[in-house]
């Protein structure tokens, strides 16, 4: 059996240009791998037209690295004429009539969408176990979670079913599963990638990002995803840049901060030790690494809970069984239609969050909780800015522990948030953050390094990540 998909995309591209293989070969190989890894439960929907699309892709474009490369899309990103469920019963038959802006870009780059990746229902969760379609498994150990909420996307790339997946990250949902499955996952700066067509969970935090096997491939994919979008007022207007441009450069004199909180006793010893090894390596290579104090990091989860649940309660109000989605049969009144449709259509995690979110915004609570959270959030942003006056990048572990066993955090509403304690501050400040694998623990499970940059400084993150990927 062919193993083209094990090659780097540069190598695959060369074979395509030399016409030694066709996009259809890649797609067929990917479909075989999907079949072989069915037990991972990483996909919700397979694109049944993908072979057709591969055949009709036209002549290979030698300047387009992504021509004919298959990609998996997290199932909360809208794909025209392809079922988009958000891993929820309430949308399990929903066929969108438009494409998300990123999907348009993926199609313009002539990539092939192989299918829609499993996830936590409406991206709410940290283990992908809240999916209506059952949880995906971690390819490194099938008894363990692939993380969440982009667990399916992470499992797909980690098992090398296809080289790329798109995820979304509201409070760590790209970086944490990337860490648990040993792949590269980037949450770009808020506004870098258009959110138009990303089913909103928490509008002020959500951001789409690339998930890949290597740092270079991640940066290259980001190149084609970014850009201001007339359909998303929160998308940023930035000069076009090549995110791979600093890869390979030396890191001598690079100033790196490590906040104490990131190596406090909430972090597993083996992971802390691994981080310390990374620090030694970086120092050895001429970088300056300081352990620093940083305020508000410990409040980030609380802020996240308030902001994310409040916004979610409003964003998910539109799922009412009227214009699309599931509607409970034989309801006699408007109120019955709403409550039965939503009571039946949503799972527990979603129900909990939209109930608490409604409570947060109710009457005087809005001021006590939501408004205050926004203000403290502004202070976190300022605190990051203070650190970035003196440092180029901030690092720490991505997670406090390696991928936990499945079933350990189910029905514990608090735990779902604590898995993301180290990655959530980045969403609060809208900054870019990336997970790069830095080895494994004694149980042979991946450990990841979290690299945080200034707003719109993704290129520098990729530089350090690639340096570590190559040398550490």
């Amino acid at each position: 059996m062919s193993k083209y998909l094990d090659l780097s995309i540069k190598e695959i591209h060369e074979l395509l240009v030399k016409e030694e293989i066709t996009p259809l070969d890649l797609v067929d190989e990917a479909l075989n791998r999907i079949e072989d890894t069915k037990d991972l439960n990483a996909f919700i929907t397979i694109n049944d037209k993908v072979r057709e699309e591969a055949k009709n892709l036209g002549k290979v474009d030698k300047d387009n690295l992504f021509f004919g490369i298959p990609i998996a899309i997290k199932d909360n990103i809208i794909t025209k004429n392809m079922r988009t469920t958000c891993a929820s019963h309430i949308l399990d038959n929903f066929i969108p009539i438009y494409d998300a802006t990123v999907i348009k870009k993926i199609k313009e780059a002539k990539m092939l969408i192989i299918g829609k990746a499993n996830m936590d229902e409406f991206a709410m969760g940290s283990t992908s176990e809240t999916s209506y379609f059952g949880s995906p498994l971690n390819p490194h150990d099938k008894k363990r979670t692939a993380g969440g909420s982009s667990g399916g996307s992470a499992a797909i790339v980690s098992a090398n079913i296809v080289p790329f997946a798109l995820g979304s990250d509201t409070g760590g949902s790209i970086r944490q599963p990337a860490s648990y499955t040993g792949i590269v996952g980037m949450k770009p700066t808020y506004g870098r990638i258009s959110r138009y067509g990303l089913v909103a969970f928490a509008s002020s935090l959500d951001q789409i990002g690339p998930m890949s096997r290597t740092v270079y491939e991640n940066a290259a994919l980001l190149n084609i995803l970014v850009g201001e979008d007339d359909y998303d007022l929160t998308s940023a207007n930035r000069v076009k840049e090549d995110f791979t441009r600093l890869i390979g450069e030396d890191i001598k004199n690079m100033k790196i901060a490590l906040p104490k909180f990131f190596i406090s006793d909430i972090v597993d010893k083996e992971i802390s030790n691994k981080i310390k090894e990374v620090i030694s390596y970086l120092k050895e290579k001429g970088a300056i690494v300081d352990i620093i104090d940083m305020k508000y990091l410990d409040t980030a989860v609380t802020l996240y809970q308030i902001i994310a649940m409040a916004e979610a309660s409003s964003n998910l109000a539109r799922f009412d069984g009227i214009r699309y989605g599931f509607r409970e049969d034989n309801t006699k009144t408007v109120d019955e239609m709403y409550t039965k449709t939503r009571g039946e259509g949503f799972g527990d995690e979603v129900k909990r969050r939209i109930m608490v979110g409604s409570y947060i915004l109710s009457g005087k609570n809005a001021k006590i909780y939501y408004d205050k959270a926004l203000k403290v959030r502004d202070d976190i942003t300022k605190e990051f800015a203070r650190i970035f006056k003196d440092y180029d990048l901030i690092i720490g572990p991505t997670t406090t522990r390696v991928a936990p066993l499945l079933g350990t955090s189910k029905d514990d509403p608090h735990k779902a948030f604590m898995d993301d304690v180290l990655v959530i501050p980045v969403n609060m400040a809208g900054l870019p953050g990336l997970n790069v694998p830095i080895g494994k623990n004694s149980e042979n499970m991946p450990i990841g390094l979290h690299i945080i940059g200034k707003a719109f400084d993704e290129a520098l993150i990729y530089k350090l990540a690639s340096f570590i990927e190559e040398g550490f």
Binding site: I78, P96, Y196, L198, E311, S314, A317, R323
Partner: protein
């Protein structure tokens, strides 16, 4: 009966004129086929986001300006969360905390006394979809969803129904003239709610809200009836309940719709999909540049050129004709003749053919020659009636039309004198009556002159000549 003081506040919603909707680019129009004036944003599809129509912000600035409000320079939008089938996202995007205009007023005059009706605030928001009820189901048409609205809220400073109707008449005139809204209550492009309470002292009584009153006249009636109803309740020792009512004009009374839930819980919060909006002075100036002269400014102007109050009100009541008349003021001519001509023969021609004056071939130059000919007596009012259709529909000059319609030079005194002599000879009785001091005889004789000339002589000249001849 004890003296109660009524306190009334009025909320008005107007649909704002623009080409496209407020938060999406589908058409802002009326009367399209069911569910065809919609896109995925209007339908609240998952993943869609709002954009802001520049023209609506400008209309908001204009409305704030003409209602003497302070214009808010930095504003944002808020979400008002409530579930209802006509509300596609189950939240409405509105302005709760930073309305575009605050603290304005509209000056009215009731029974010769001027009063400023204070405006609390005006804000921009989106309209809901339309619903029709058929037995035990309702049918939804989303064409209206997302149509821009401006809501105008007065302070509770109105004391009787006359002030209320006078305020609404003035408000409608202003918004219509500024080209902000059609203000057609019958088509729902202007909707009124009135809050009414009564009290014997300075404390405010319990208020009721009368929703969606169908005409300004009915607002007056509804308020009168509601005041009476509340008086009767209080006089009989009962208390007013906070409730929503509607006005039935056939029964001439307000009818209970629902008792208010204690404090509507709209769970307002800042719309995270829209960044704040900061208006520059330049943008505001630019928006106000296109404001036409408003009714009170026109009244002042027209008074100066000698129009009668009746003429002034009549021309102001016809905005298209008014705007044409304003253009005519750039020409030196007899404006009294002009206004009479516009309000009589021209207006009835336009009405009959359902045309706007701008759709006709009546150029200002042509009109001025007509006015001058009327003034000099070369043309009679009867001639006008003959030539009006050709005047409006063709490019022919007045001279050409005179030839075509065989309009003689009826200022030829000898021609008129001949006819007068003939009339005097044929009506000796009337001549005697006149000489005996019966002034009415002159009218009869004039009538005969006009009959002989088929109305083609200038009546003023003919009248003068007739009296001259009789007095000889």
């Amino acid at each position: 009966m004890t003296n109660y003081v009524p306190t009334i506040g009025i909320e008005v919603h107007v649909e704002v004129k623009s080409k496209s909707k407020l938060f999406s680019n589908s058409a802002n129009t009326y009367g399209m086929a069911t569910n065809t004036d919609v896109n995925v944003i209007d339908l609240g599809y998952p993943g869609t986001l709002p954009t802001i129509n520049k023209e609506i912000i400008k209309q908001g600035i204009r409305a704030a300006h003409i209602l003497n409000c302070n214009i808010t320079h930095k504003m944002h939008f808020d979400r008002k969360n409530y579930f209802y089938p006509d509300n596609p996202k189950n939240y409405q995007i509105t302005q709760n905390r930073t309305p575009i205009g605050t603290n304005g007023y509209v000056e009215i005059e009731v029974d010769g006394i001027k009063k400023k009706i204070e405006i609390e605030e005006i804000h921009i928001e989106e309209d809901t979809c339309k619903s029709a009820h058929r037995g035990n189901v309702s049918l939804l048409d989303f064409n209206r969803a997302g149509v821009p609205l401006i809501e105008i809220v007065t302070k509770p400073c109105i004391n009787n129904s006359k002030e209320a109707t006078s305020y609404l008449t003035k408000l409608k005139e202003l918004l219509f003239y500024a080209n902000i809204s059609d203000c057609k209550m019958e088509e729902g492009s202007m909707r009124c709610d009135a809050n009414v309470s009564i009290s014997k002292d300075n404390t405010l009584g319990v208020k009721t809200e009368i929703k969606n009153i169908s005409s300004i006249h009915n607002v007056g009636l509804a308020i009168l009836e509601e005041i009476n109803r509340q008086k009767e309740i209080l006089e009989s020792g009962n208390t007013i309940k906070e409730e929503t009512r509607r006005f039935d004009d056939k029964q001439n009374k307000t009818i209970l719709m629902r008792v208010k839930e204690t404090g509507n819980d709209y769970r307002y919060f800042i719309e995270p999909d829209i960044p704040y909006l900061e208006l520059t002075d330049e943008f505001i100036t630019d928006a106000l540049k296109t404001l036409p002269l408003l009714p009170d400014e026109l009244r002042e102007k027209y008074k100066k050129i000698g129009l009668t109050p009746l003429q002034i009100e009549k021309i102001i009541a016809n905005r298209a004709l008014n705007s044409y008349f304003l253009g005519l003021l750039e020409y030196k001519t007899n404006y009294t003749i002009a206004i009479n001509l516009l309000l009589s023969d021209i207006a009835s021609y336009l009405n009959k053919h359902n045309k706007l004056i701008t759709d006709t071939n009546l150029t200002y130059d042509k009109l001025v020659t007509v006015i001058n000919s009327l003034e000099s007596g070369e043309l009679s009012n009867k001639n006008i009636k003959e030539i009006i259709p050709s005047l409006m529909e063709t490019d022919k000059t007045l001279e050409q039309l005179k030839d075509e319609f065989n309009i003689k030079n009826i200022t030829d005194n000898s021609f008129i004198k001949d006819i007068i002599t003939k009339v005097i000879e044929n009506n000796p009785d009337s001549v005697n009556d006149y000489k005996n001091g019966h002034d009415r005889a002159i009218k009869y004789l004039m009538g005969q002159v006009m009959k002989e000339t088929k109305g083609s002589v200038n009546p003023k000249i003919a009248n003068d000549l007739l009296i001259d001849t009789l007095n000889k």
